[in-house]
Amino acid sequence: MAEPRGHLPEEVLALIFCHLPLRDRTTAAQVCRAWAAAAACSTVWHDTKVSCDSEWEGMLPPCLSACLDHVHNLQLEFEPAKKPSRQAATKLLKELVGRRPGLRSLLLECSGEKPLFDSGRDVLGAVHAVCQTAGALRHLDLRRLPFMLDDALVLQVAHGCPQLQSLFLNNCTLVGSMGPDSVLELLVACRSLRVLGLHLASLSHAALGVLAAPDRAPLDLLALRCASPEDTRAPELPDQAWAALRCRHPRLAVELELETALCTHTVRRVLQPSVPVAALRLNLSGDTAGPVHFAARHYAANLRELEVHAAASAELDAALEALAASCPALREVHCFCVVRPAVRRAFLAHCPRLRSYTLKLTRERHPWRPTLVA
C-alpha cells in the first residue's frame, strides 16, 4: 500500500528527530503540521544537543519552548569568544532554571578561541542558577569550560544537587580557585558520587577520608588534574590515605593529569605507590623518564592508558620499554615525541590488550593520529 511520502507515523518521526541537534529540530517543526506535532513529543527531547554558534539566536519558537521541560540530558556547546554564541548559551541555560522534573545531566563544551581575561561570569552565573533548582541533577561535566570555577559554585552544587553521581570540575584553567573546604562540604553532601574530577589543590587528606567512609556509593573514578600553582603548593596526600581509599573502593580507577607547571619535587609527592592509577597523562617540562619508571614499578597492575608529551631521549625510550614489559593491562599508549623502534616492538609484544597507540619512529606531519590495533 503506497502511502504518500513524508507521512510517517508520529512516533517514528519523533524517533528520527531524537537524532537531530536542537536547531534542526526547530527547522523540522516548521516543515508541516505533522512534523510540528512530532517535534513537540517529549521523547524527542530527553537527550538534547545544542550548538550555539553565531548563526543561532538562541530562541525557541513558543510551540517548542515547553519542550525544554522534557530535557533530561543536555549537551551544550558554544564559542566563548563570540558574543552572540555566549548570549545564546546563557539564555538557554536560564530558560532551564526551575523546570520540573528538571535536568538530570548537563555537559558544557566550549569551542573556538579561549577568551583572554574573561571570567565567564554570565555563563557561570547561569550554571549557578541551574544548579540552584536542579535537585534531580545526576551528572555535571564542566571539564571543557575554560573559566575559573569557584567555591561559590561548588557550594551551590553541594546544596542544590544531592543526588549527584558524577561531577567533573577538572577543567583547564591557569589558576585554580576551588578550595579543599568547599569540596569537602560537597563530598559530605553528595554521597551518591561515583565519578569525580577535581584539581589536585581541591582534594585534601580529609576529603580522602570522607570518600573512604562506609555509608556512601562505591567510587569508580577519581580524575585529578595537577597543573596550576595552587596544585604545586597543595599539601601531600599520604600514601596510607590512598591505601585506605583503595581498600574501601577496590574498583577505584584514578586518572592523573600532570602538567608543565609541576616541578619534579611536586610530581614525586603526587605519585604515591598506593594510588590505583589507571590512566596517566604526563606533560612535564622536567624529567619524564622518572615518572614513567615509577609507573612501571607501582602502577603495573591497573595501568590502562598512558600519554606522554616530552622531548625525545634515550632515557625516555628505556623507561617506556620498561613500562611496556610490566603493564599487561595497557590498552592505549600515546607518545608525542619520536621513539626508537624497540619501544614500539616492546608495546606490541608485551601488551595483548593494546587497542590504540601513537608511537612514531619519525617526525611526521602534525596532527599525529593514533594507530588502531587490528
Binding site: T27, V31, R33, D47, S105
Partner: protein, 164 residues
C-alpha cells in the same frame, strides 16, 4: 540448520535461518516463548512487509548476524557518547530511493529490529540536517499545510538569518 518460513504481504514465502530471523524481537518471541518447533511448517504471516523489502531486511540481518551485541553503557560518559556514525556497509546498503528507505524503516519498526531501525532513522535524520524548511519539503516531497497566518508567525520567529 533450523529455518523458519516468512510470508510477505504479497504472498511470497521466504525461508530463512532461524538464528538470522531472531534478530527481529517479534520473531524471537514467537520462536522462544511460544515454542514453535521444527515440525511447525506454517509460514509466519507478515502483512505489513512486501517481499522486496523482506528480502532486503533478511540481507541486513544476515550481514549483521555475527555482530556482538553492543556492550551496555558502563558509565555516564559512554551513555553521552551517542554514536552518529553509520557503518560503511550500512551506508551503502541504505543508498536506495526514499520509498525503499521508508519501507525498510517501517519494516524494522514493525519487526522490532533495533539495529536496522536505528541506522534507517539516522540516515533520514542526516537528510534533514542543516536544511531550511523549504529544502526539507523538497527533499521529502512534503506539502506545506500551514495557514498563511501560521507561516507569517513562523517567519517572524525564524531562526535563520536571511543571508546564508
Amino acid at each position: 540448520m533450523p529455518s523458519i518460513k516468512l510470508q510477505s504481504s504479497d504472498g511470497e514465502i521466504i525461508e530463512v535461518d532461524v538464528e538470522i530471523a531472531k534478530q527481529s524481537e517479534i520473531i524471537k518471541t514467537m520462536v522462544e516463548d511460544l515454542g514453535m518447533d521444527d515440525e511447525d511448517d506454517d509460514p509466519v504471516p507478515l502483512p505489513n512487509v512486501s517481499a522486496e523489502i523482506l528480502k532486503k531486511v533478511i540481507e541486513w540481518c544476515t550481514y549483521h548476524m555475527e555482530d556482538a551485541p553492543p556492550p551496555p553503557p558502563q558509565n555516564y560518559e559512554d551513555k553521552a557518547k551517542k554514536v552518529m556514525d553509520i557503518p560503511i556497509w550500512d551506508q551503502e546498503f541504505l543508498t536506495v530511493d526514499q520509498e525503499t528507505l521508508y519501507e525498510l524503516m517501517m519494516a524494522a519498526n514493525y519487526l522490532d529490529i533495533k539495529g536496522l531501525f536505528d541506522v534507517t532513522c539516522k540516515t533520514v535524520a542526516n537528510m534533514i540536517k542543516e536544511k531550511t524548511p523549504e529544502e526539507i519539503r523538497q527533499t521529502f516531497n512534503i506539502e506545506n499545510d500551514f495557514t498563511e497566518e501560521e507561516e507569517a508567525q513562523l517567519r517572524r520567529q525564524s531562526l535563520w538569518r536571511e543571508a546564508k
